[in-house]
């Protein structure tokens, strides 16, 4: 059977895994490590209890490290409380994506990593450290997200202008440059139009004016020869080349055809 990218590889389907819920401060510390050891687990099986006692000890230096997210004072010891799956079948699957496209689910190779045998809760064993940590967290959470700042200097860069300076400049410039648009040769205009229609099929008259830089009336006359005005949907009031001038993409040298 051909292997499809959507096949779920079930090789690991009988693996037993633990799904461990870890508090944020702890996981932040863990993620700072580069593929290394984060701590030790001590599993103590008691004869009377159905579930073993598991204690996780965070590595020394990791516990002390300040990762800048306010979790510097993490307690060292944590209890792992095991609980069965409570009747809910759970499994873990993974997506492996190619190196260049990280995280794209469509490209990933899917594989079943295993089934969850225990749901584990990571609870800090109480202590001063933990209290300190929590205090910091609470203080952080209490700070308002939005604050008010007093400005010492009034903002002076957006006065309401009497007339828009930028606009003014532009207008003057335009007038100087374009003046009245001069009528070019009809042939030339047509050429321009055709090349424009090669790019797009439908054009608004204003856009054409801008492209050809012709006075609008003159342009309309030229257009009437070679194009039609499209009133109906979907392309509201646009000009498109006449069918005989159209070629495939709607632009063809008129010389050949007309």
């Amino acid at each position: 059977m051909a292997k499809k990218s959507s096949d779920l590889d079930c090789k690991g389907s009988s693996n037993n895994l633990w799904l461990v819920k870890v508090p944020k401060y702890m996981s932040n510390k863990w993620m700072t490590v580069e593929d290394g050891e984060v701590g030790t687990l001590k599993i103590n099986r008691r004869p009377g209890a159905p579930k073993p006692e598991v204690i996780f000890s965070l590595k020394e230096e990791l516990a002390q490290k300040d990762d800048g997210k306010g979790s510097s004072e993490a307690p060292r010891e944590h209890k792992f409380v095991l609980s069965g799956t409570a009747g809910q079948p759970m499994g873990v699957f993974s997506q492996t994506s190619a190196a260049d496209e990280a995280g794209s689910s469509s490209n990933g190779a899917l594989s079943l990593e295993g089934k969850v045998a225990h749901r584990v809760d990571c609870r800090p064993v109480g202590g001063e450290n933990y209290m300190k940590l929590k205090k910091l967290q609470v203080l952080d959470a209490m700070t308002p997200v939005r604050t008010t700042m007093q400005l010492h200097r009034a903002v002076t860069n957006n006065y309401k202008p009497v007339s828009n300076h930028a606009n003014n400049l532009e207008v003057e410039r335009r007038k100087k440059e374009d003046g009245k648009r001069s009528r070019a040769d009809p042939e030339k205009v047509q050429e321009m139009l055709f090349s424009a229609f090669e790019k797009h099929q439908y054009y608004n008259i204003k856009d054409l004016v801008e492209i050809t830089k012709q006075p609008i009336q003159y342009l309309k006359e030229v257009l009437k020869e070679i194009a039609t005005y499209n009133l109906k949907a979907p392309h509201k009031n646009t000009w498109e080349l006449k069918p005989e001038y159209r070629h495939y993409k709607g632009g063809e040298t008129p010389m050949e055809q007309s």
């Binding site: 779920l8 690991g12 389907s13 693996n15 037993n16 895994l17 633990w18 799904l19 461990v20 819920k21 870890v22 508090p23 944020k24 702890m26 996981s27 863990w30 593929d35 290394g36 050891e37 984060v38 701590g39 030790t40 687990l41 599993i43 103590n44 099986r45 004869p47 209890a49 159905p50 095991l82 069965g84 009747g87 809910q88 079948p89 759970m90 873990v92 699957f93 993974s94 997506q95 994506s97 190196a99 995280g103 689910s105 469509s106 899917l110 079943l112 990593e113 295993g114 089934k115 969850v116 045998a117 424009a196 790019k199 797009h200 099929q201 439908y202 054009y203 856009d207 392309h235 495939y248």
Partner: protein
């Protein structure tokens, strides 16, 4: 993969590897950070037995079928069919109107999991939000003897089996819910009929108890306060009586009974003698599948008769029903046969009024509006009446036919009385008459309360005038005995069975008579719930 024994979390001490209790075992925990490999949790429903280790082949894809809705209708950017400046204009327009188009992310689409190839199960996995906000999940896997590998979980998916049948969405469900009292629900009726048929089959010659129990399926007539039958005990009594009669025509009864009950439910309004339903109460109600005077009507008619007769199905009854398909006018014929003399005349005006007042719609409305509730009520009443009379099955049959005719009249358009079988009717005329008279008062006139009452009165008059005291009034030793044999009753209950006015006796007389009978019978006295119940051990 090594599967250490501790995964099974058994109190095995130090387990198999080392003998004797040892101290805690130490494992190192390593974080596995692979940016290219993302772990996700898949969770199945709590009660579903999904064994992942049994999966041999599975296929999982993102569900993209719903994504097209949001896909932009894009015009070609250039070349044919495109417009100059289209894209910018669209963007400017959207900004101006504040239209926010959320782009669909493939990662948020649900998974479609197929297990076991083509014929296997399918699941849909939906992403669960908010799992990474407060805490992080890690997957611990044991690698090597003394190490654990921890991988962070990126997202969580809940997998549910894929639904293949159609279901209503919210609005549709609400609309249907609104209609449930208005429109006659054939499906419910069919189911009830099925249940009843099943019951009948099981309990052909069952005891009273069973009968009562069966009736528990329906809303009891005894639930109403105005029942002149005095409630539950009456029903059971009546049923018992009916049962005896029923035995006579066992097979046919079985067939028709369910129908009868069904019809009864449909035409509950017909049988309500005492129901105070006003004229225009059910005018606005709707009907499913309006059919004009065809077999459905006739069927109803037939069934109605059955229903009315409950267990008292006489041969004539059967024959009538088999040749059903008649209109109200057919009822007239029936009346002739059944010689429902006075009752007929009473019926006629009642019916006429019925027909006048109730258009086809109304009759239908009546049928439907009475929910099971009313129907059962009627049925109970009927049963009560039947119980009282000591008529033979034939008589009961006649009664049933009468009821049928009545019901027929009530639902003028749809109902059709079973074709009266002239010969049989006439022969049973006298009995029917008697029965009629007896039951007259309790008979539910079709729909209108004043009418039935009128009929009732007239009937009761007739009854007292013509009938023998024993058969009509019901207050006889035999009836008392029957009541007491069926189940223990208090004296008060017993008295209730013979209401004044019906028997023509006033309260004292009834009491006296009852005491006299009781002395004769000398029933046993049992104390139940602190009250003394009388009981006759048969």
């Amino acid at each position: 993969m090594v599967f250490p024994f501790f995964f099974q979390s058994q109190p095995s001490g130090s387990g198999g590897l080392q003998g004797g209790l040892q101290g805690p075992e130490e494992f190192t925990v390593k974080i596995q950070k692979n940016p290219l490999k993302k772990y996700n949790v898949m969770r199945f429903a709590a009660n579903s037995k999904v064994d992942m280790s049994a999966w041999k082949e599975a296929n999982m894809e993102r569900e993209t079928s719903t994504m097209d809705i949001y896909k932009d209708e894009t015009m070609p950017e250039y070349g044919e069919g495109s417009e100059y400046g289209r894209k910018w204009r669209e963007q400017a327009r959207q900004k101006k109107y504040g239209i926010n188009k959320t782009k669909l992310k493939l990662e948020d689409q649900p998974w479609l999991l197929k297990v076991g190839g083509k014929g296997g199960k399918r699941f849909v996995g939906r992403k669960e939000g908010g799992i990474n906000e407060a805490s992080s999940y890690f997957v611990f896997r044991q690698t090597g003897n003394k190490t654990f590998e921890a991988c962070p979980v990126e997202s969580w998916y809940n997998f549910t089996p894929q639904i293949k049948y159609k279901y209503l969405n919210e609005e549709e469900a609400e609309a249907e819910f609104e209609k449930r009292h208005k429109v006659l629900n054939y499906f419910n009726i069919m189911m009830k009929k099925r249940l009843e048929n099943k019951d009948e089959a099981e309990t052909e010659g069952e005891t009273e108890k069973n009968v009562s129990a069966r009736d528990d399926l329906k809303v009891r007539e005894g639930d109403e306060s105005d029942s002149d039958l005095g409630g539950f005990s009456d029903d059971s009594d009546n049923e018992a009586e009916g049962k005896k009669e029923k035995a006579k025509t066992a097979k046919k009864k079985k067939d028709t009974k369910g129908q009868k009950k069904k019809k009864k439910k449909q035409k509950g309004s017909d049988d309500e003698a005492l129901e105070d339903s006003d004229e225009g109460d059910y005018d606005g109600r709707e009907v499913d599948y309006m059919s004009d005077e065809d077999e459905s009507a006739s069927e109803e008619e037939v069934d109605k008769s059955k229903v009315d007769g409950t267990y008292l199905k006489g041969v004539d009854q059967e024959m009538e029903m088999s040749s059903s398909e008649e209109e109200e006018e057919g009822e007239g014929e029936k009346e002739g046969e059944a010689a429902e003399g006075e009752k007929t005349t009473e019926d006629k005006p009642a019916k006429k009024e019925e027909s006048d007042s109730s258009s086809s719609e109304d009759s239908d409305v009546d049928l439907e509006s009475s929910a099971l509730f009313m129907q059962d009520k009627k049925e109970g009443k009927l049963k009560g009446k039947q119980g009282r009379s000591k008529k033979s099955g034939k008589a009961g049959g006649k009664t049933g036919s009468k009821g049928t005719s009545r019901s027929g009249s009530s639902s003028s358009s749809r109902a059709s009385t079973p074709a009266p079988d002239g010969g049989i009717g006439s022969t049973l005329a006298a009995a029917a008459k008697k029965l009629e008279q007896q039951k007259g008062t309790k008979r539910a006139a079709e729909g209108d309360s004043p009418l039935p009452k009128k009929a009732r009165h007239s009937r009761s008059h007739d009854g007292s005038g013509s009938g023998t005291p024993t058969s009509e009034l019901g207050l006889t030793e035999e009836s008392v005995r029957r009541y007491l044999m069926r189940k223990p009753m208090t004296a008060k209950d017993l008295l209730k069975k013979f209401p004044t006015g019906k028997t023509g006796l006033n309260r004292d007389q009834t009491v006296a008579k009852v005491t006299e009978i009781l002395k004769k019978l000398n029933p046993e006295k049992k104390t139940i719930n602190g009250k003394i119940h009388l009981w006759l051990k048969s």
